[in-house]
Amino acid sequence: STTWHPPPEVTRIMVNHRVEKAKRECVVWAIALLSSGTVVSADSFGRVQFWDWQQGTLAESHTVSSSAALSLAVSEKEDSIVVGTSTGATYQLQLLPVKLGGLEKRWVRTKPFQYHSHDVRAVAHSPSALISGGTTLVIRPLMEKVQKKGYDAVLRKFTFPHRRLVSCARKARLLLFQFSQHLELWRLGSTEETGKDGEVLPLCRMPEHLVQLKSKGPEHIYCSCVSPCGTWLGYSTASRFHLYRVRCDGDGVSLRKVPKVPKLLPPAYQLQFSADSDSLFVASARGSVHVLQLLEPGGCKLLHIACGCSEAVYLLAPSADGHWLAAVSGDWAIHVYNLKCFKHHCVVPTYNCAVSALAIHPSTNNLVIAYSDQQLVEFSIPEKQYTGWSRALQSRGLHRAWLERDSPITHITFNPKNPAHILLHDTYLLCVLDKSLPLPDDSTLLMNQSTLKQLPETARKRQLHAFKICKKFQPLLFMDLLDENCLVVVERPIMDFKTQLPMPVQQKKFGT
């Protein structure tokens, strides 16, 4: 049953009331309120029910599924509802006239969709699409609302969060993997051989699982980071922030928790160590960035709180020289702070799209920003303006194939030996953006690496363009440059974790 409190009086609706087989308890998993005063409920019996909120009476009941209905979303016009169930199916209910042209309208279950294998925990209803989220996120355009066949009319599926779950200690060659309840620290293997393209080199040292750090309590880990030198490790859950000192002596690795961590207002959305591993930047949900100074042998103190963002900060990018810090807040504004004098430096001109990744170039201090609509800009922090290359890119426009990609850029890094190189990656490709090369137009092939490889050296020159794209690693969780000719790439095959998932709904099958 559910209780709902509309001020000033209380109406109690007994959802379980009319169920004879009331041996099972009915759980209402989601409710929605329509402007007409109708309460919509989705319950564990797989029903979507419409209640009169004043009388508390049941107006309509639709059993959409034999398993639980978990989530519910109503369209803005309130003529369509999307329901997510525990079998991974989503259903659309629409308010349709009983007779063609008639005034009386009824809710009718219209379309079933099955895009998920497990629970659909969240659904959303955009004007032209149904969005459902479980183990994957699916955007299903409503074909009747889409005007023409094109990019918008395509079903889109996202398996991985557009957040960084891996961090890399470049100097120490360590990788930190973030799982929902624990962290794993690995030392990368190495080789002494070289070879031709595509060759797998023999390892002279195997990768080594150094430490597994379990988070206490039921809370999920929000963010984590390992310092470039590999001696500091921090993570944050919804309520707490933890900092550890990692000590590698010989083969053994010890973790020591840093005591008396300054009281921060949790949760932290992003952690970032400075390039020299001297300080830690903590992006807080309250819109501030805390700068902590890391002290030897294992302590820290709060150095500064950078304010200016009105919403939660979710991305941070410090410059390699320790001079600048860029922070992205929930309202998509990018603030740049001067860390030398702890001053707010400037705000990057706002763009009406979410920032998916950003990084400051180590030698030029240009801020490279990737937006979720696949746009790329380069902003010079010292000059507080877009660079010439960025303006050229904007006026020229990005390649169509680049713009129509599904997954946003999640990480940007640079090649210290070649300032013209910007390295970017999303879930399906990694790209070396060479600013010294001409930009491709729509008539050229964007993903031309395999073509180039077949061409003789002399013929390649004319075909080269700025976007050097490699799609060899999929799904790509993380990519970073360790040194000028060493790239670390983390793949996470979907089957690896799909096979570990339990059955979506416990069903009795004959003979089992």
């Binding site: 293997g189 190495s190 070879g195 393209d197 797998v200 080199l201 390649r460 490699c470 060899k472």
Partner: protein
């Protein structure tokens, strides 16, 4: 006769009682019972028990017991009445050491008593059996082990109970004062198996762990069936059962590892063998290889199915009398197991040799219906042989339908009735030949070839009237072959029924026919079905090839054309199989094609009309070979891709060289 006849094993005399009191004793050589030794006793005899080493013991209806020797010394001696007004229900005699022991049970007003008598010691013990509530004892049996009498009792509630009685060595004085002891029973076995209950009528103990029960098995919703069952009392399992559909008298005897029972009007002897019981054996998981000398747990072996008209009043006398003969027969049957039962069948067939056709057939039908399962095959083989023999002697006689019926309904083989197919060939009975080809697993290549030749030579017109099974062709062959309305189209395709007939008759086929390049079927559906039957039969190339060489050139070409047609049809499908039941497989088609070309290559090459056929066949085969080699290449590439993919997948960590241009 008033009690079963027994044999004195020491003197080899037979002892019978008639009119309750008159004892008769005779030997094997005595023919007339009236002239045999006669002694009249003073009391009524209940039964005589013959013990292997102790001589016969006589139990009187009053409960008195005498050994035969004692009795014969003074036949008119007075016999005491031990039981007052109880009635003897069952009795049994055993040897305990050198002492004969006689056990009998009596009934009075629903109470049952057990008496144990040792006639040589004149000791008598009386026990009362525990009150039997609702269940009534139907049958008793007992055995003595370790000074203890184990009395088994089959009760009306479908259970076997066990009563243990110690054999006491007490003196007479004590015995006189003894109160009658009450014996308690314990449940030994419940005669029910998965819902069905065995209503037992007779019970026999086989060894310490096995009992045999004769009775009717009643499952809910089914008619009760009489059967003989062997139960393992240790594991409470039904070891085996044998159905006795003709019914029994409810009596079962067991001597020397053989059961004797009346089955219908026949005395059936069944050998059995009990192994030491083990759990593995009880659940049927004993491996034969471990105990090679015991092939299975219980060996059923029907030795006798001769009609013995049971005219004796007592069944047991028959059992005993026939026992020596049984032994004899069992020896013979094991010696000549190949044709165990055909004495009577053979005799019958011999008798019928000159009988009229009608009598013969009806007798044979009867014989087949009666033949018991293990001998069925051999019997039917004999029947078919008898029929074919008659066909051979009488050219006008050919029981087509009867033969068809036999071949269709029974699992025959060529070796069982070697003449059948020869006769059918002679009579050109294509229908029977087709069925034989489909069903016999062991047709010699010579006969297969003869069938092929016959099928190819028979005219289509003749085949039209034959009732050939078209299952194997109906799914792929061009239908409406003789439909006149679509004749034009058919002619264009180079085939119609009449033309085909022409082709068989005339030496040189018409041009239209020679042009038929596998697009239409060169033979009618009946002939195609018959040829398919040939294609389906098993053969060895080396044995078939010499025969195949004898095939006339025209027929060889026709057959080749048909094979080519099948090959093209097969290749049309992705899975290269022809639809339909018993349609030839691509391998069979290819093998026959190769064989035929091997056998006739020189001839075919020389024949002008075969030239085009060979050319188109060559072209088609070459195209197929190319197609498959391309497919092989693709398969190889895909496998390599899969391998590479797999290689990459399996590595969770690797350092690779990646060139970005």
């Amino acid at each position: 006769l008033t009690c079963p006849v027994v044999c004195n094993f020491e003197t080899h005399e037979y002892i019978a009682v008639h009119d309750d009191k008159v004892l008769r004793i005779w030997k094997n050589e005595d023919i007339n019972l009236d002239k045999a030794f006669k002694a009249t006793l003073s009391a009524d005899v209940y039964r005589i028990h013959s013990l292997p080493n102790g001589g016969p013991v006589v139990l009187f209806k009053g409960g008195g017991v005498r050994t035969l020797d004692v009795l014969l010394e003074a036949p008119q001696q007075e016999i005491e009445n031990v039981i007052s007004d109880e009635v003897i229900r069952w009795s049994g005699a055993f040897m305990e050491g050198q002492q004969p022991v006689l056990i009998f049970t009596t009934e009075k007003d629903g109470d049952f008593f057990v008496y144990i008598q040792k006639p040589k010691l004149s000791s008598l013990h009386k026990y009362k059996l525990e009150q039997w509530e609702s269940s009534k004892p139907l049958c008793f049996t007992a055995h003595i082990t370790n000074q203890t009498v184990t009395l088994l009792c089959l009760c009306s509630n479908d259970s076997v109970y066990q009563v243990l009685i110690p054999l006491q060595q007490d003196t007479e004085e004590e015995e006189a004062e003894k109160e009658e002891e009450i014996l308690s029973r314990s449940l030994l076995l419940n005669l029910s198996v998965s819902g069905s209950v065995l209503k037992g009528t007779s019970l026999v103990v086989l060894d310490k762990d096995h009992v045999a029960v004769l009775g009717s098995l009643a499952a809910p919703g089914k008619e009760p069936r009489e059967c003989l069952t062997i139960w393992n009392t240790k594991f409470q399992t039904l070891q085996t059962s044998k159905e006795l559909p003709l019914g029994t008298t409810g009596q079962l005897w067991c001597y020397e590892e053989k059961f004797f029972l009346t089955h219908g009007k026949v005395l059936t002897v069944i050998m059995y063998k009990c192994e030491t019981s083990s759990l593995a054996a009880a659940v049927g998981k004993l491996k034969d290889s471990q105990t090679p000398d015991v092939s299975s747990f219980v060996n059923w072996n029907t030795l006798e199915d001769e009609k013995l008209v049971v005219s004796f009043q007592s069944q047991e006398s028959v059992a005993l009398k026939s026992e020596p003969r049984m032994n004899l027969r069992s020896r013979r049957s094991s010696a000549a197991k190949v044709q165990p039962e055909n004495v009577s069948v053979g005799q019958l067939l011999l008798n019928l040799k000159d009988a009229s056709t009608y009598v013969l057939e009806s007798e044979l039908r009867q014989l087949m219906a009666k033949a018991p399962t293990p001998d069925l095959q051999a019997t039917i083989g004999c029947v078919v042989t008898a029929l074919t023999d008659r066909c051979k002697t009488n050219p006008k006689y050919y029981p087509k339908n009867f033969l068809l019926q036999i071949v269709e309904t029974r699992d025959l083989s060529y070796s069982l009735c070697p003449d059948l197919m020869a006769v059918a060939l002679e009579k050109k009975d294509v229908q029977l030949l087709q069925i034989c080809l489909q069903r016999f697993p062991d047709i010699p290549e010579e006969i297969t070839y003869a069938c092929l030749e016959a099928f190819l030579s028979i005219s289509e017109a003749h085949l039209q009237s034959e009732d050939v099974n078209l299952d194997s062709v109906i799914c792929y062959i061009d239908v409406e072959f003789d439909n006149k309305e679509v004749k034009t189209e058919i002619v264009e395709n180079g085939f119609n029924a009449e033309m085909d007939q022409d082709m068989c008759d005339t030496k040189i086929p018409k041009k239209t026919q020679s042009r038929s390049d596998g697009e239409s079927c060169p033979v009618g559906p009946q002939k195609a079905a018959l040829l398919n039957a040939v294609l389906h039969s098993a053969y060895t190339e080396t044995f078939l090839l010499p025969h195949l060489k004898n095939l006339p050139a025209q027929q060889a070409i026709l057959f080749l054309r048909y094979l080519y047609y099948l090959y093209v049809k097969c290749s049309e499908k992705v899975n290269t199989t022809l639809p339909g039941i018993r349609s030839p497989t691509i391998n069979q088609i290819m093998d026959w094609m190769c064989l035929l070309l091997d056998a006739h290559f020189t001839v075919i090459v020389m024949l002008p009309e075969a030239k085009e056929l060979l050319a188109s066949l060559h072209k088609f085969v070459r195209a197929q070979v190319r197609f498959y080699s391309e497919l092989n290449k693709i398969e190889g590439s895909l496998q390599e891709l899969q391998r590479l993919n797999h290689l990459r997948d399996s590595q969770t960590y690797s350092i690779e060289v990646l060139e970005i241009i």
